[in-house]
């Protein structure tokens, strides 16, 4: 394993300190915790939005802390959910009387740890509610599993619910908007090469030189199948096809598109993928209102990408285009 680290035990700590050092005007670390909060938190009279999860998905979630998006992000160990006490610290550090909304990606550990934190906050009479993002269409038979995983679509939830919270809306209203995004967002990813968790020291799975895994999760969970690598257009056709099969996007609809890099894929390739996404949607008469291309929800050094489509209505579009100013996502 070749990694630019100083030691496997320091990865999260040094990453958080380096991140806040890079963006002191946006974010600061809550002392004694693995929580990143808006600089000068607790000064805004609004519903606070808190997300988080295992580390290794940077810029998620600390990079989305800032005006118009999150109020705090909680970082667990690499690919391991943060513990309830840490989430509770995030709530305590930021909540200012209007309640907190927890945005959770659908993994067993994340859901349980965030729910326990909500229980702890409720014991202190802090109003907390939650939404669970489950946008990964690669998980089939979701009745028989823990359900679909939360992946890159989570960033749109941060953006839109964040804009809603910024207007001064109350907690039920912010939750309603977040759930509307969740109902209308779908994603699917793939990997060309696996990622290596620093503490493990070897790749999470093996792929042959000419093989790709379709439907991969952001921790390297198994996808739908493996196949020989083909031109990226064919891969995009498959991913977008699975998303469109959901039946929620129709001719005449407006969507937001995210082509998200897994961490080890160059932007040039993401742009090529994006071109194909546009061709497909143009062909279906689906209008693209907004496109974002880049590394938004990564999987350490995994090579690959995911495609996310969010169906918009006037309300969601308004919030999507509202101002946001965070280290990793800006809308002017």
């Amino acid at each position: 394993m070749k990694k630019l680290i100083n030691g496997v035990d320091n990865v999260v700590d040094e990453m958080l300190n380096g991140m806040t050092a890079a963006f002191p005007e946006y974010i600061e670390r809550v002392p004694g915790t693995d929580v990143v909060a808006r600089t000068g938190a607790k000064k805004t009279d609004k519903v606070v939005l808190i997300s988080g999860g295992g580390s290794g998905h940077e810029p998620a979630h600390g990079g989305y802390v800032g005006k118009g998006m999150l109020d705090a992000a909680v970082a667990g160990a690499v690919f391991t959910s943060p513990t309830p006490d840490q989430v509770y610290e995030a709530i305590k550090a930021t909540e200012c009387g209007k309640g907190a909304l927890l945005i959770i990606k659908n993994y067993t550990g994340d859901v349980m740890n965030f729910e326990m934190a909500a229980d702890m906050a409720a014991d202190e009479d802090i109003t907390v509610d939650k939404v669970v993002v489950a946008d990964d269409v690669a998980v089939e038979n979701s009745t028989w599993t823990t359900g679909r995983r939360g992946i890159a679509g989570t960033v749109f939830v941060h953006k839109i619910a964040g804009a809603c919270a910024e207007t001064g809306a109350d907690l039920p209203e912010v939750k309603r908007v977040a759930e509307k995004v969740i109902a209308n967002v779908r994603s699917m990813g793939m990997a060309v090469a696996p990622c290596t968790v620093p503490a493990v020291g070897k790749p999470g799975f093996d792929l042959a030189e000419d093989e790709v895994e379709i439907g991969i999760g952001i921790h390297g969970e198994p996808g739908t199948h493996r196949e020989k690598i083909s031109p990226v257009n064919d891969i995009v056709d498959h991913l977008v096809g699975k998303i469109l099969d959901e039946g929620i996007y129709a001719e005449g609809d407006e969507v937001a598109v995210m082509v998200n890099g897994m961490g080890g894929t160059p932007l040039s390739e993401l742009f090529i993928a994006n071109l194909r996404v546009k061709e497909i949607l143009d062909g279906k008469g689906i209008k693209i209102a907004k496109t974002v291309v880049g590394n938004y929800m990564t999987s350490l050094d995994m090579e690959g990408f995911s495609v996310t489509l969010l169906k918009l209505d006037d309300e969601l579009k308004g919030y999507l285009n509202a101002p946001a100013d965070t280290p990793a996502y800006k809308e002017v």
Binding site: G76, A77, F79, T80, S81, P82, T83, P84, D85, Q86, Y107, T108, G109, M112, N113, E115, M116, V139, N141, W144, T145, T146, V200, G217, H219, E221, P222
Partner: protein, 207 residues
């Protein structure tokens, strides 16, 4: 002198730490290869943080729950943390436990895990060891057996429960993504639950 409850939790910690690699290996097959590592980290921390001379069983169990909750992470942290906290509530203020207390504690633990994990028996989880263990414990208790005999019955049934997890598909947790590929593998969480129950039994037997 260390309290009895501290000694008992130390015994559990020793067994879990001893089986760190075994549990991690089971998890590598159907999960994400960290169960033993996470549990050992939690119990190592618990050994250092638990009050050695506190005799209120509920208080020590509660502290153990808090430590596991804040140090284990993943799904096991909340589940074992909840189990200890529920046990703590059932044992609050007690300095000794009767056979009936054991029943109440197990019942509280099962309720807590079901609620936290939104799981039922038969989903290839720790409940598949604990629920049969509880039932066997109750049957032995109702037949007038003493505590050690009840714990023997509990462990025997829990061990069968772990074997049973090899035959079923996981529908909860990360193993659920594997579908039928999870058959043939024993559940790591059910296994760590069995190890915990056996550690308690062995500790009681050695009294």
């Amino acid at each position: 002198m260390a309290s009895k409850v501290y000694e008992c939790i130390s015994k559990i910690a020793d067994i879990i730490i001893e089986n760190k690699d075994f549990l991690t290996e089971l998890d590598r097959e159907i999960g994400d290869a960290d169960h033993g590592i996470n549990m050992a980290r939690g119990y190592t921390e618990a050994l250092g943080q638990l009050p050695q001379d506190e005799s209120d069983i509920g208080a020590v169990l509660k502290k153990a729950g808090m430590v596991l909750l804040s140090k284990v992470g993943g799904a096991s942290g909340p589940l074992y943390g909840t189990a200890y906290m529920k046990a703590a509530k059932a044992a609050a203020g007690k300095t000794e436990l009767t056979v009936q207390d054991g029943k109440d504690i197990l019942d509280a633990i099962i309720g807590g895990i079901k609620q936290r994990g939104k799981a039922e028996r038969g989903e290839k989880t720790m409940l598949d060891a604990i629920i049969p263990g509880y039932e066997a414990y109750c049957a032995a208790a109702d037949a007038g057996k003493d505590l050690a005999e009840c714990l023997d019955a509990m462990c025997a049934a829990a061990a069968e429960g772990v074997e049973y997890t090899k035959t079923i598909i996981a529908t909860k947790g990360r193993a659920s993504y594997l579908g039928e590929r999870s058959i043939g593998h024993q559940d790591p969480g059910a296994t760590s639950s069995l190890l915990t129950m056996e550690a308690i039994r062995d500790w009681v037997r050695a009294l």
